[in-house]
């Protein structure tokens, strides 16, 4: 009876995944996702739309620089897309 009771208790305890296992799962997920990237994308001759100026990640660098300066001066956050850096003693 005692043996059975022991077995029952062991089954009842939820298994806690170790930190190493969580990291392994995360790593596999990341690698799988990166692998999936190889099926994403286009052939060089399919870049007609992507080559347009309006499709560039930063389509207007001048607007972007002006905006960065405004928001750097007026808010507590900066950067993220580009370097946040120093640069002015803004009021």
């Amino acid at each position: 009876m005692e043996v059975n009771k022991f077995t029952f208790k062991q089954l009842d305890q939820p298994k806690q995944p170790s930190m190493a296992k969580i990291k392994l799962v995360l790593l596999i997920t990341v690698i799988t996702n990166l692998g999936a990237c190889s099926s994403l994308g286009v052939e060089p001759w399919e870049r007609d739309l992507l080559a347009k100026k309006s499709m560039a990640l930063t389509s207007s660098p001048v607007d972007s620089a002006l905006d960065d300066h405004i928001y750097f001066s007026k808010e507590a956050s900066s950067g993220g897309k580009n370097f946040g850096g120093g640069g002015c003693g803004c009021n």
Binding site: D63, Y71, G80, C88
Partner: protein
């Protein structure tokens, strides 16, 4: 058009001369160089209601060389005038403050947010960036930054490596930058927590008494940024980008122009003390962006949506959602509505005022820019492609900052006073690419 070409030719020669590459020796070479420079010019006016007005001019030149090397040069000049919140809280009575320079005083009427109207500064900034292909699919880039104001000097360098793979559909990049800033405010660096001297600034003792509230004439800070990025083309119509950045700032992070009101038992300001911020800050952010090109049914609109989450060791975290919709009209023009939403929490040492009897604190600032706040930008840009491919564009936006109470109990005396005033600004810009 002739004038246009003349301007471009002159700028090209000027840029070449600055680079030491020499003005072209033959007319043939000169013509070739002229063709290779591309310029972007912009004038921006940023104007807050009753506060700061900034005018900014940018001239950016870009030249691509034979082996895909790219040189970018940028000159920025801006002029700042107007009033800025000094940090003190509105009161039921008029308040007198000493200017940061120590020369003279100004009075804020009862019930109004104290603004120091002495700000006037001109800034000149130069940026240079050299980008070139290295081995295989690796691109390298290095750059420099110089910025000078009357009381501020900033020098910066940066480097970036990008690796393209999967038929250039995927790119991993890593960048490093370092900025060294020197602040030399007029009137010197105030002593943290010392009381603002208010009184007769023409008296004999004034200068020596004012000097007691100063600890030096200049301070420095260094900023190191690490940026890791990944961009991925999803399909013919969509591209995405993901960034993580880590930023360490060390040195003088206090604003020497900002003060904090000290209120007595009746909630009336008895004193104004100079603020004090920690001498280091670590900021991290994750950024993601997606761009999608719709088809004819949605007018070939390009949607650009990005989200940034920023957090730091001052307990500030922020969310930024930015979206633009580029809608083409025919072949020659486009309209681009823009909506931006920003929300930040307060720094753990932010306090709109101090109560006289409260426990002393190590750091304090009443600068609303590190307090809890929501901000919205809404506007549009209209662009027109002219003959010869030059582009003229106009941008008009409205920016509204709405500071909010981070959970502090407001004293009764201050009821009816605007402790968290809204700041409104108009952003107007004209750009020309040639």
């Amino acid at each position: 058009m002739t004038n246009n070409k003349d301007i471009k030719a002159l700028l090209s020669i000027a840029a070449s001369a600055l680079l030491g590459s020499g003005v072209a020796t033959t007319s043939t070479v000169q013509a070739k160089e002229v063709d290779e420079w591309q310029f972007d010019g912009a004038f921006l006016l940023y104007s807050e209601v009753d506060r700061v007005t900034a005018s900014e001019v940018i001239l950016a030149g870009s030249r691509t060389f034979e082996n895909d090397e790219v040189l970018n040069l940028k000159l920025t000049v801006d002029v700042l005038t107007g009033a800025s919140a000094n940090g003190a809280v509105a009161q039921p009575n008029a308040q007198t403050f000493t200017r940061p320079s120590g020369n003279g005083q100004y009075v804020t009427p009862a019930g109004e947010t104290p603004l120091d109207d002495t700000f006037h500064d001109t800034r000149v900034q130069l940026n240079g960036q050299w980008t070139q292909p290295l081995a295989g699919n690796i691109t390298g880039s290095i750059g420099g930054h110089f910025s000078k104001e009357y009381d501020y000097l900033s020098l910066g360098i940066n480097g970036n490596l990008a690796y393209d793979f999967n038929k250039k559909n995927s790119t991993i990049s890593m960048g490093l930058s370092y900025f060294q800033d020197t602040f030399t405010p007029e009137g010197g660096i105030p002593k943290p927590f010392s009381s603002m001297l208010v009184g007769d600034s023409s008296s004999h003792e004034w200068d020596s008494e004012f000097a007691k509230t100063r600890i030096g004439s200049s301070e420095n800070k260094g900023t190191t940024d690490i940026l890791i990025g990944f961009s991925q083309v999803i399909n013919r119509r969509m591209i995405t980008a993901f960034n993580y950045s880590y930023s360490m700032v060390d040195g003088y992070l206090t604003d020497p122009f900002k003060i904090v009101s000290v209120l007595n038992a009746e909630d009336l300001a008895q004193d104004y003390i100079y603020e004090n911020r920690p001498d280091s800050r670590v900021k991290q952010s994750s950024f993601m962006q997606a761009k999608y090109h719709f088809d004819d049914h949605l007018f070939n609109t390009v949607v650009d949506v990005s989200y940034r989450y920023m957090w730091d060791d001052w307990d500030i975290n922020s969310h930024t959602i930015d979206s633009r919709f580029n809608i083409p009209f025919g072949r020659a023009s486009y309209l681009e509505p823009h909506i931006r939403y920003y929300q930040q929490s307060a720094a753990d040492f932010f306090q709109p005022f101090i109560i006289e009897k409260q426990t002393p604190v190590s750091y304090v600032s009443a600068d609303y820019r590190i307090g809890e706040m929501t901000a919205v930008t809404i506007g549009a840009k209209y662009g027109l492609v002219l003959n010869g491919g030059n582009e003229l564009s106009f941008r008009l936006e409205y920016y509204r900052q709405m500071p909010t109470n981070a959970g502090l109990t407001e004293p009764e005396t201050l009821n009816g006073l605007d402790i968290y005033p809204v700041v409104e600004a108009v952003i107007a810009q004209v750009s020309y690419s040639f």
